[in-house]
Homo-oligomer: 374 residues x 2
């Protein structure tokens, strides 16, 4: 029933000026979790016979039981945005039955949305009169993985009304512990693109979302083989794409940013637009500094020498976009600067206040999508 | 990650001849829940500090903790098919974190699939070489409900390759406590239709799935207004439908069967094909016998007199399909007979062995879909 999240979001945003509002992620009309004016969140769970209950949202909060058997707790003020959380009992981590679940942390996980104001959230809020694209759920057989899998494919408004028009494609990856549903249910990628296209700020494009968890029969990571040998050919066959590198982008968040960099920089014949949200380009060890970035030889050797000739890179790659959330720290700003020092053009975007969560990535997608295919 | 369910299903069916197989609903490669050769199910959950844990699958089973903190229990043999279940602790009902969740029982709920053999399950198992339709997730604004909602729309293979072809439409409802995702994730409606169409057993059709939980601003049930005033006009506008009653069907399961009968019999200008799976046509009280069925006047008055002229009904309705599971009892067979005694043509189908669950409804859809629009 995640469909109601959007409604809930609207309701909550409308009500956000008042004291307490239900989280947009609540099932039906459940009043809890409830977000306070100070962005603290109050949780309530009915477990009359439980002897202890813990809420886990960033940190653990012991819950307190009232005489009716309801366990409650109010957290510290939270950063606005989307936060996964869990309940814990006796060493078992599980869902809050009063909210929708979202695939994250490796399972269907509870989440709370701490709303920002209506103006700030307008870009990921559906509006009447805005032509809608469609999100398709497509089952496909992956030879690389030896199994049937599901991908989500967003086609922009007008796709079906213009049977002769072809479109550029963005391959968009979720983060660790998530799956191909994340960019729709947590990220609202379809709403963001519908709104940007309606405002003339983004080019109509197809967005392909696949699960980044991909193992071959041998148990090894088959992600790149799956995308390059199974997914891209299928998408170019089944959808009206412009199937060249100038019209193919790849982006991802966190772990998915690493996968996006590996695809975008590792397969230069396939991609020419790259976006990494809250993730690093790994050179040498899995850190920005000191590692490969300090060593001209390692840097020049990375990704088969992609950075060895900055002029070539800047001529051949239309966009290298690096984004993160302010609360995540300065390491990606540093990475962007290091790349620029070495002559590699890139665009850096920082989402005000937000942490390593979906509001950061909704904003990153908004900034990235407006620069694509232009 | 429900996408992996299909894979799991294949693996399990292949392995079903052996002793213990993981449920196809398990997340990733979790070994538990595990289905035995006798169709008993063994559950295992890690909760080292819990003092008690109960498994609820049809009935409550107390779980037993081993020295490592794993709680386990093996159920009685289960009927093959898809079964919701929950864990209980201290009066709190919640999900098993080791399986996918499915929207049922009013929340994202755990479920186990007790596989049947490969031959029996072939009709809802994806096959390579079978042309695939697509399932779209469409956000829409419902005036009747005053909110944004999400519907699923299945378009058959070839829909996009034949921009001039128009298709009949089946409106298909889920059961109580479920939502518009049920017929895809629990029911495999898309796979069933892909397979039937590929075998030439069903006419290519569009299937529209909406949530049956619909309230207006006044809090009253707005389902029929939503379907007839918001959904059908939107579908006929956005998709290439044949928009007349001869090419529009409605069906549903359980509570959704009641909704399907109310739409199909109550809106005779809109529908001419009706399917009810595990649900009754309510005449008088909410029982088949004695109620209205025993009273000629009540019977003739039902649904604005739809049954008052059997010849008219039989000429104007192409199909009234009634299905259920053998384990549900004989009441729907009785309802089918009562209708026939009164001259109302109908087709009755009974799913061998199965109960009030999704395997019954997958089989009902298979039988129903083959009779549609012919």
């Amino acid at each position: 029933m995640r469909k109601t999240l959007v409604t809930g979001l609207l309701l909550s945003l409308t009500g956000a000026v008042f004291a307490q509002v239900p989280s947009p992620t609540n099932l039906g009309r459940n009043p809890y979790p409830q977000v306070g004016a100070d962005r603290s969140v109050t949780f309530r769970v009915n477990a009359p016979d439980a002897t202890a209950l813990t809420l886990s949202l960033g940190k653990d909060y012991p819950m307190v039981k009232d005489e009716k058997g309801f366990w409650t707790v109010t957290t510290e003020p939270q950063v606005e945005g989307f936060h996964y959380y869990s309940l814990k009992v006796g060493g078992l981590t599980f869902n809050d039955p009063s909210v929708h679940s979202y695939f994250g942390t490796g399972r269907d996980c509870s989440a709370v949305e701490v709303p920002e104001d209506a103006e700030a959230s307008a870009f990921y809020t559906p509006r009447q009169g805005v032509p809608q694209g469609a999100v398709r759920s497509v089952r496909y057989y992956s030879k690389a993985c030896g199994e049937y899998r599901r991908m989500y494919v967003y086609t922009p408004a007008g796709y079906e009304q213009n049977p002769d028009k072809r479109y550029p494609v963005l391959y968009l990856q979720h983060g660790g512990g998530e799956d191909e549903t994340g960019w729709i249910y947590q990220g609202f990628a379809d709403v963001i693109l519908d709104n940007l296209v309606a405002e003339g700020k983004a080019v109509p494009m197809i967005i392909v979302m696949v699960s980044g968890v991909a193992r071959g029969a041998d148990g090894n990571d088959a992600f790149e083989a799956m995308v390059t040998e199974d997914v891209i050919p299928l998408v170019d066959k089944r959808f009206r794409t412009i199937s060249d590198r100038d019209h193919r982008a790849v982006a991802g968040l966190s772990w998915g940013a690493k996968q996006a960099y590996d695809l975008g920089l590792g397969y230069r014949d396939l991609f020419s637009w790259i976006g990494g949200f809250s993730g690093i380009i790994v050179i040498g060890e899995f850190r920005v500094r000191p590692a490969g970035y300090e060593d001209p030889e390692k840097f020049a050797a990375a990704y088969d020498g992609i950075f060895s000739d900055p002029d070539w890179f800047n001529r051949n790659y239309h966009l290298l976009f690096i984004g993160n959330g302010e609360a995540e720290g300065a390491h990606l700003q540093g990475m962007s600067n290091l790349l620029k020092e070495r002559g590699i053009n890139n665009v850096f975007y920082q989402s005000p206040r937000t942490a390593h969560e979906w509001l950061t990535w909704r904003r990153c997608l908004k900034e990235f999508a407006q620069r694509l295919f232009k």
